[in-house]
Amino acid sequence: MITVEGLTKIYGNRTALDNVSFEVPKGEIFGFVGPNGAGKTTTLRILAALLEPTSGRALVDGADVIEHPDLVHERLGYMPDFFGVYDQLTAGEYLDFYAACYRLPKARRKKIADDLLELVGLSDRRDQAVDTLSRGLKQRLCLARALVHDPAVLLLDEPASGLDPRARVEMREILKELQTMGKTIVISSHILPELTELCTMIGIIDQGRMRATGPVHDVIRQLTAGRRLRITVLGQKEEAAAVLKPLSAIHEVVMVNGTIEAQYDGDDAAAAGILQTLIAAGIKVSGFSQLEGGLEDAFMKATSEDI
């Protein structure tokens, strides 16, 4: 559904995007993560045919963003990270205006506006002036605006930024509903735990370069290579560390909040062997569990070193 090939964007002396490539199949939710200034917004603006890349190409549902921006605009809904609203318009009029901009017939526009307001939970705000809505409500209205022409693809740039926890949860629920409606969604965000739960695919970008991309669990596994053990012992932390460090399967041993975390290579049998070794050395082990790597770990790993 979305194909990005060797996308490069150079502003003067600064390379904002450096040969970025990724693909998002139909119906997937692609989480686009990276630190501030990594190139997320630049990528999304190029995908929305709002910015011309220096080189490379991007296709949305088969339409090239440079050659056929009109087709791209037909097929995608875009929600920027910062946006304004018009004064003197109500929420209903706001959606009606954008529906008219997409050349939808007048007879259908009212129903579309009503349905979308219901989808984003703003039915009771239909006649409220949009400039008097709170930030969270404006975000929801902007999402509804991006959906007026029923696009197959949604590009959402930081849709949850500046929202309180409750509004974030509500936004996440709306996005899940859109996922069930079969939309392909690209979402950039800093809120990593939410992305893990919501996204089926992920791309990590840093300093304009794509560090990792693919299904969420593959990326996490790829970046957090080596499994981790959390070991709790009765007062013998130093001795336990001294036993663990010489073992060939162990890469790293650190103390975290009074427990020992050890990174190791191998399968469950290797973990059992490590436990046996500790017990044989007379260490009184009160807790022994495997730690699952998360998106946060993957993100930190991807953005802290060159891959």
Binding site: R45, A48, A49, L50, L51, E52, V65, I66, E67, P69, D70, H73, E74, L76, G77, Y78, P80, F82, F83, G84, V85, Y86, D87, Q88, L89, E93, F97, Y98, A100, C101, Y102, R103, C142, R145, H149
Partner: protein, 341 residues
């Protein structure tokens, strides 16, 4: 839906009307406009009434009507030169500042439709102001001396000048990211169009050829200003002594509009200049009628030349705006460079 309907059917126009008419600024602007124009009309009327208290006949009445009309139409032009750039110079740049322009770009509206919608909405307000001034102008018919076709042509010249200023304002708004520099440059362009072209006629007048068979005319650049045709329409007479010099040595400066009484008590008004310097003063043929006696637009009416030149400028400004506005410019030579057929 055919192409013409698509081009004319523009949601931006209705949105702009809604936004504009729901604020207190529009009624206030209309009220101030009528008060100013009415105030000038009343002042001219009062001074005329005071002058005509002792002797008043039909010919004088016609002349008073002419003077009243001339002042009103010139004042209206100046007012619109202040209002129109303000209406359009923020049309696009304010969308950028408000961060709403990207949301328009991602719709199916082509960039030209965005410009067209903004222009139509602004110009509708100008037309509304012109319509509001009609009752004030109808006072002129109490005196006579002005025909309906003169009023209509004068309104046409004013409307086209406002349209040109509006499109130039729109081009400035497209070219500059911020509204402030866009507004400043739009007002600068308005000054050049209205007064700068007239100043050009004073600084670089046409040399009089004593052997010419036709009367000299001011340089063509001066026809850019709507003031010149409005004076010609208002006085229903030729431009005398403006924008010409004798043998290249006879400079003129300053001046304005003067009226003098004829033998039958009828006054005639004309543009004047003050001669400076020395030089040969010949006896060239004198201009007569309301057509341009010589030069590039020889035989044209002044208003025709003005409208033609202004529409040409407006067209160029509109094309430039349409090229500058889209976020990704589909210029033909760039498409060729990318190898697109």
């Amino acid at each position: 839906m055919n192409r013409i309907t698509i081009a004319l059917w523009n949601p931006i126009v209705s949105k702009e009307y809604r936004s504009r008419m729901r604020t207190w600024r529009s009624p206030l602007a209309m009220t101030v406009y009528i008060l100013l124009l009415g105030g000038v009309g009343w002042a001219i009327f009062s001074s005329t009434a005071a002058t005509a208290r002792n002797s008043f006949n039909g010919a004088q009445a016609a002349n008073y009507g002419q003077v009243l009309f001339l002042w009103l139409i010139l004042f209206q032009m100046v007012l619109l030169a202040f209002i129109t750039p303000a209406l359009t110079s923020g049309a696009v740049s304010s969308e950028r500042e408000r961060q709403t322009i990207d949301l328009l770009f991602v719709t199916k509206l082509p960039a030209f439709s965005i410009l067209w919608g903004k222009l139509l909405a602004s110009m509708s307000f100008v037309i509304l102001l012109l319509l509001l001034s009609v009752p004030i102008f109808s006072l002129v018919f109490l005196f006579g001396g002005i025909e309906l076709d003169q009023v209509l042509i004068a309104f046409l010249v004013t409307a086209v000048a406002a349209l040109t200023l509006g499109i130039i304002g729109l081009a400035c708004s497209t070219a500059f990211k911020r509204t402030l520099p866009a507004t400043v440059s739009a007002y600068g362009a308005a000054f050049v169009l209205l007064a700068g072209s007239l100043l050009f006629g004073l600084l670089f007048p046409t040399d009089i050829n004593p052997n010419a068979t036709r009367a000299p005319a001011p340089p063509a650049v001066t026809y850019l200003s709507p003031i010149l045709p409005l004076v010609v329409i208002g006085t229903n007479g030729p431009i005398n002594g403006y924008g010409i010099r004798n043998g290249g040595n006879y400079l003129t400066q300053g001046g304005g509009m003067a009226c003098s009484s004829g033998p039958n008590g009828v006054q005639s008004c004309y543009m004047t200049t003050v001669p400076i310097g020395k030089g040969f003063v010949g006896q060239p043929p004198q201009p007569s009628g309301t057509t341009i006696p010589s030069g590039l637009f020889s035989g044209w009416q002044y208003w025709q030349a003005t409208i033609t030149m202004q529409l040409a400028i407006a067209l160029v400004a509109l094309i430039l705006s349409a090229l500058l506005l889209p976020p990704i410019r589909q210029l033909p030579w760039r498409r060729r460079a990318r190898g697109v057929g």
